[in-house]
């Protein structure tokens, strides 16, 4: 599992990356009440908004961690946003992208580097 400085996690299967938000992020955001996911087929550009997660208080953007095309979204979190809080690294995944450049994945933060980042 890899991480971004914007508190997303990614796992890789072939050239398909699964993307979610980290436990740290889900704790900081608080209980989610709404999740807006990208449409399958959307071309994502690293750093642009890909999804929106909303708590009672606020809406937060989830940025695309890498370039790629959305190939699947987790309809279960759209129906039950609390899944992101209860299981952020598992059932609370957000979407899958086919990476434009498979090698980009390796440049992401590893577990140690992410733990250092969040202190």
């Amino acid at each position: 599992m890899k991480f971004t400085e914007e508190h997303e996690w990614l796992t890789l299967d072939g050239s398909i990356a699964t993307v979610g938000i980290t436990e740290h992020a889900s704790t900081q955001l608080g209980d989610l009440v709404f999740v807006e996911l990208p449409k399958v087929g959307t071309a994502l550009t690293k750093g642009n908004g890909a999804a929106v997660v909303e708590s009672v208080k606020a809406a937060s953007d989830v940025y695309a961690p890498l370039d790629g095309e959305v190939v699947e979204v987790n309809d279960a979190v759209a129906a039950d946003p609390a899944l992101v809080n209860s299981d952020p690294l598992g059932k609370g995944w957000l979407y899958k992208i086919k990476l434009a450049n498979r090698a980009d994945f390796d440049a992401l933060l590893d577990d140690d580097a992410y733990k250092k980042l969040i202190g």
Partner: protein
């Protein structure tokens, strides 16, 4: 993921007498009206909100202003008549031991602040918003110093709200159980003189308790030891008041909104309206009384998004899903944990203000449909009997 962090040095912020208690209870502190305040505790806004509606929430609202208004003549009627020069409210008719909602208006009919006015026997006690309290005191001094003494109190203010509030507070002050909605009394709590009102900002039954600053922590700690009582942050305070349909000063009402546009006619008693014994005589009276007679071009309404996406403050509102010109905007919006759906309030053109009218909000470049709906969104639980 992004979260904006305001660049404010915490060392420059004021602290309430309960600051250390908040930290000890794991609060996330944020700057609010110049104070370092708890936005939430460990359980988070959603659970804190639901806890308040099912048990009792204890809120630190010590940042709010507490101002005494006392007539130099010694007669409270003179203080009441003086205050009526600044608010479109029947203050003279307020009975001893009772309080009511009020508004400071400006010459354009706008709202300088909203407040609670309590009749304390020989003087009036005003509870005003934190962000406005210095300006309010200056406003009172500028206009009423010839006949009144104005004193800003340095006391703490706690709110205890929810169905378990009565039983909890009665453990420390049994007489509070006999109070009705909007009663105010002086009561001794743990040896300190406290001013208790049966009121709040959540739609629940509950109390606001003004305590000496140095007694606040021991009283809060004693309340927290009672069944059902938990600390609740400002985040849940905001979602609770939104469900209750109450205005947040600076968001839903401000110097550019009149009480009539804000649907607060109920706060202007008939005696201050045209034809009343003390009609007018407050700043902006000509504009406000004319609006009572002829209506306004816009109105504050409740809004119910049809989907699950929250529509938040600042969203522009449109009459349909294509027209380029806005007919209003959202002033408060979010998710209502007790109603389990998004809710909002805002201003719309009067022709769109009737219940069930469909309007559209622009959210992330999409038009989402909402229905105009009566407020409050929940059924209030005030002890009026």
């Amino acid at each position: 993921m992004s979260e904006s962090t305001p660049a404010i040095d915490p060392a420059l912020l004021k602290r309430t007498p309960l600051h250390a208690l908040h930290i000890a209870h794991g609060a996330r502190m944020v700057p609010f009206a110049g104070y370092d305040m708890p936005v939430q505790y460990a359980s988070g806004v959603l659970k804190e909100h639901l806890h308040t509606r099912s048990a009792a929430g204890l809120f630190d609202v010590s940042h709010m202003g507490q101002i005494i208004l006392r007539a130099k003549s010694g007669a409270i009627a003179d203080a009441a008549l003086a205050l009526e020069k600044l608010v479109p409210v029947d203050v003279l008719g307020l009975a001893p031991g009772r309080q009511r909602y009020g508004l400071f208006t400006n010459e354009r009919g706008g709202i300088l602040d909203d407040l609670m006015i309590a009749h304390r026997g020989d003087h009036l006690l005003l509870i005003v918003n934190a962000a406005c309290k210095d300006a309010d005191a200056a406003h009172l001094r500028a206009h009423l110093s010839d006949t009144c003494e104005i004193e800003s109190l340095d006391r703490a203010l706690l709110a205890l709200q929810g169905p378990a509030a009565e039983a909890a507070l009665a453990q420390l002050a049994p007489a509070t159980a006999q109070m009705r909605f909007m009663d105010v009394r002086t009561l001794e709590i743990l040896g300190s003189d406290c001013i208790v009102t049966r009121s709040g900002y959540t739609g629940e039954d509950g109390f606001e308790i003004s305590t000496p600053a140095d007694a606040a922590e021991s009283i809060a700690t004693a309340l927290l030891a009672l069944p059902g009582v938990a600390l609740i942050g400002l985040g849940a305070r905001d979602s609770l008041r939104l469900e209750a349909g109450m205005c947040l000063y600076g968001s839903d009402i401000d110097q550019t909104t009149t009480p009539i546009e804000a649907d607060l006619l109920w706060a202007i008693q008939p005696v201050r309206r045209t034809g009343g014994a003390r009609a007018g005589g407050f700043p902006g009276a000509n504009i406000i009384l004319e609006q009572i007679a002829s209506g306004t071009s816009r109105k504050r309404v409740g809004l119910q998004p049809d989907g699950r996406a929250p529509v938040r403050s600042g969203a522009q509102l449109f009459a349909d899903d294509t027209s380029p010109s806005a007919i209003g905007h959202v002033t408060s919006g979010g998710f209502g944990p007790s109603v389990d759906r998004p809710i909002a309030m805002g201003y719309v053109a009067t022709q769109q203000s009737t219940t069930a009218t469909a309007v559209f909000a622009e959210v992330r470049s999409k038009r989402l449909s909402l229905g105009v709906t009566p407020m409050p969104f929940i059924t209030p639980k005030y002890k009026r009997g």
